[in-house]
């Protein structure tokens, strides 16, 4: 049976369309299901109260606070380091073997499984440096994991700034740092911001790196210092859905919904930054 080119095209397009639909529909269903089922559990009290009765009742406030602490700490470490590395790669480095080694290292860091980061964090920060299972150890671990994302997106944003601006600035007697500070960085800022948002979003949602480095389930109080352990939303969801008998399904869905809301909010934020840049760009 010989098909004409147009018949082939129609079949191919139909198959692809169906595949795309089958891929995309579950996303909507999944997100919708969690929100619908979790909506019942979510109330102001759920968000700001401490948990009771072995986590089976009450709120998830400490998990939310813990996740915020972890995200903040990770940002404080990985953003300056990542931005610095990106500036080096984009503005200073020549194409040498060493530079290629750095790029290779970044690609590798990006591919390491999250549980291996947890193992590494345990070995280095918790045990060897004797920081113990703590916010600090968890943040350090998460920072190294987040570094490749921030470096890649920041470098891309810096490179996107037209080279002609740099030439003009240097031609007028500007130093390299003046050029970066006055032109390149401000113009690359939205792109860098997007990368930071997405990087921190990932860090806040990961469980495996914090399993052995700082997360805990039954904590009576909010953490008092960076050397304390902390509760965290993803870890909390994991435990209540697998290890606590008699945990009301409500609360599980509610916790999942809160985590998902956070993720969606970050995505929307990143998308807004991107479209704001597209509108305000002067080149």
């Amino acid at each position: 049976m010989h098909l004409s080119r147009y018949q082939t095209e129609r079949i191919a397009f139909m198959a692809i369309g169906v595949a795309a639909l089958l891929t995309v529909a579950p996303i909507i269903i999944v997100v919708g299901a969690i929100f619908v089922s979790g909506a019942d559990a979510i109330s102001w009290e759920f968000l700001v109260e401490m948990p009771r009765n072995g986590m089976r009742a009450g709120g998830i406030w400490p998990a939310i606070v813990g996740t915020a602490y972890l995200a903040l700490g990770t940002g404080l470490i990985s953003v300056p380091l990542g931005l610095g590395a990106a500036i080096y790669l984009s503005e200073y480095a020549h194409d040498t073997a060493w530079t290629r080694a750095i790029r290779l290292a970044i690609v590798n860091l990006a591919g390491i499984p999250s549980v291996v980061y947890g193992l590494f964090g345990l070995g280095l920060f918790v045990l060897f440096l004797k920081l113990g299972s703590s916010i600090v150890a968890a943040c350090l671990t998460l920072s190294i994991m987040t570094l490749p994302v921030i470096i890649s997106t920041a470098e891309e944003a810096l490179r996107a700034v037209p080279q002609s601006f740099r030439v003009v600035s240097i031609g007028m007697g500007g130093t390299r740092w003046q050029t970066i500070r006055r032109i390149v960085l401000p113009q690359a800022l939205p792109g860098i911001l997007t990368g930071v948002i997405l990087g921190l979003e990932r860090a806040a949602g990961e469980t495996a790196p914090i399993l052995f480095t700082g997360a805990a389930f039954f904590l009576p109080r909010l953490p008092g210092s960076v050397f304390d352990q902390t509760m965290a939303l993803p870890y909390h969801l994991f435990v209540i859905s697998t290890q606590v008998p008699g945990m009301p399904v409500q609360i599980q869905y509610g916790t999942a919904a809160v985590l998902l809301t956070f993720v969606l909010a970050m995505n929307i934020l990143a998308a807004s930054v991107r479209s704001w840049q597209r509108r305000k760009r002067q080149w």
Partner: protein, 304 residues
């Protein structure tokens, strides 16, 4: 007298300080990779003094009784990654083609963020849904004793790999110069022929990278598989195995690390597994960058 004026440029100390700072930041990436390797090695080496290498490759993983055969874990990871790949690659690529080449602009602006959202969903959330929704479904529809199977895990892992494949492949297709497509259409090709014979081959290296990255992500997943594949370290045999529980390397580390005594044999073996995972991801990434590098060189030569 020949000079290179670049090297002859004087700079003030502030500039030098800043350049040093960013240079250190740049090299930190290399330092971290080396550090990770060193620390994994440090806790792995004792393994080879504590148990026979042959025992390590035996077929039983039962630490309580000192059985440390990692074959069931290796094969568990392999099977589930393969299963995820079989689902994720076709669906991911077809979705990428749809978004990049076929969908009208308004639909494209809708689908891209949607796929990004899927990519952002934390693995615990997918695992959670797996336990509460997918596993019971699998159990009822396929009449298996438990819904926590390799198949369930593969489906969810595919869900995690697909966004990576879609976004990287879509970028690659987008980057194909319009001139190629216009040339094909001008010669009378249909849109499908243009996609199949011109755009996809031109984006070949990017598509390959997308697949490798997607598979890499699937293989490295921990929480989803831990929650949904049943955690039974057995070597999958026969097609049935797809619908039975298994254990991956990643899940093993996550599940058992909390219970081991620091410095025990079990502890060291878990680090050995971790090092294995590190080395596998290293190999995959090196191959992926070599492919990309070679493709870029080829493209530069062609276009220069």
């Amino acid at each position: 007298m020949t000079i290179s004026t670049r090297k002859a440029t004087r700079r003030n100390p502030f500039e030098i300080l800043l350049e040093t700072l960013v240079r250190v930041a740049g090299y930190s990436a290399v330092v971290f990779v080396a550090l990770i390797f060193v620390f994994l090695m440090r806790e792995t080496l004792p393994t080879f003094g504590e148990i026979e290498t042959g025992d390590l490759f035996s077929r039983r993983w039962y630490p309580i009784e000192d059985y440390f055969g990692i074959l069931p874990l290796l094969s568990g990871s392999l099977v589930i990654t393969l299963g995820a790949a079989l689902i994720a690659i076709p669906f991911g690529l077809m979705t990428a083609v749809y978004i990049a080449e076929i969908a009208p602009r308004w639909l494209r602006e809708l689908l891209k963020p949607l796929v990004e959202v899927l990519g952002g969903i934390p693995s615990v959330v997918l695992g959670f849904l797996g336990i509460l929704v997918l596993a019971p479904l699998v159990r009822r529809i396929l009449h298996v004793p438990t819904g926590l199977t390799a198949f369930t895990g593969a489906v969810l892992l595919a869900g995690m790999a697909i966004p990576t494949i879609v976004s990287v492949a879509e970028d690659a297709l987008d980057a194909v110069p319009k001139a190629y497509r216009d040339a094909a259409l001008a010669l009378g090709a249909t849109r499908w022929q243009t996609i199949w014979r011109v755009a996809l081959p031109a984006a070949r290296s990017g598509v390959l990278t997308a697949i490798m990255l997607g598979i890499g992500r699937a293989m490295g997943e921990t929480m989803t598989v831990m929650m949904v594949t049943g955690n039974a370290p057995q070597i999958p045999a026969g097609l049935n195995a797809l619908f039975m529980p298994l254990r991956t390397m990643t899940a093993t580390i996550a599940a058992e690390m909390g219970e081991v005594a620091n410095g025990s044999v079990h502890y060291h073996v878990l680090f050995t597994i971790g090092l294995t995972l590190f080395l596998i991801s290293l190999a995959v990434n090196l191959t992926a960058s070599a492919v990309l590098f070679r493709a870029r060189r080829r493209a530069e030569r062609l276009l220069s």
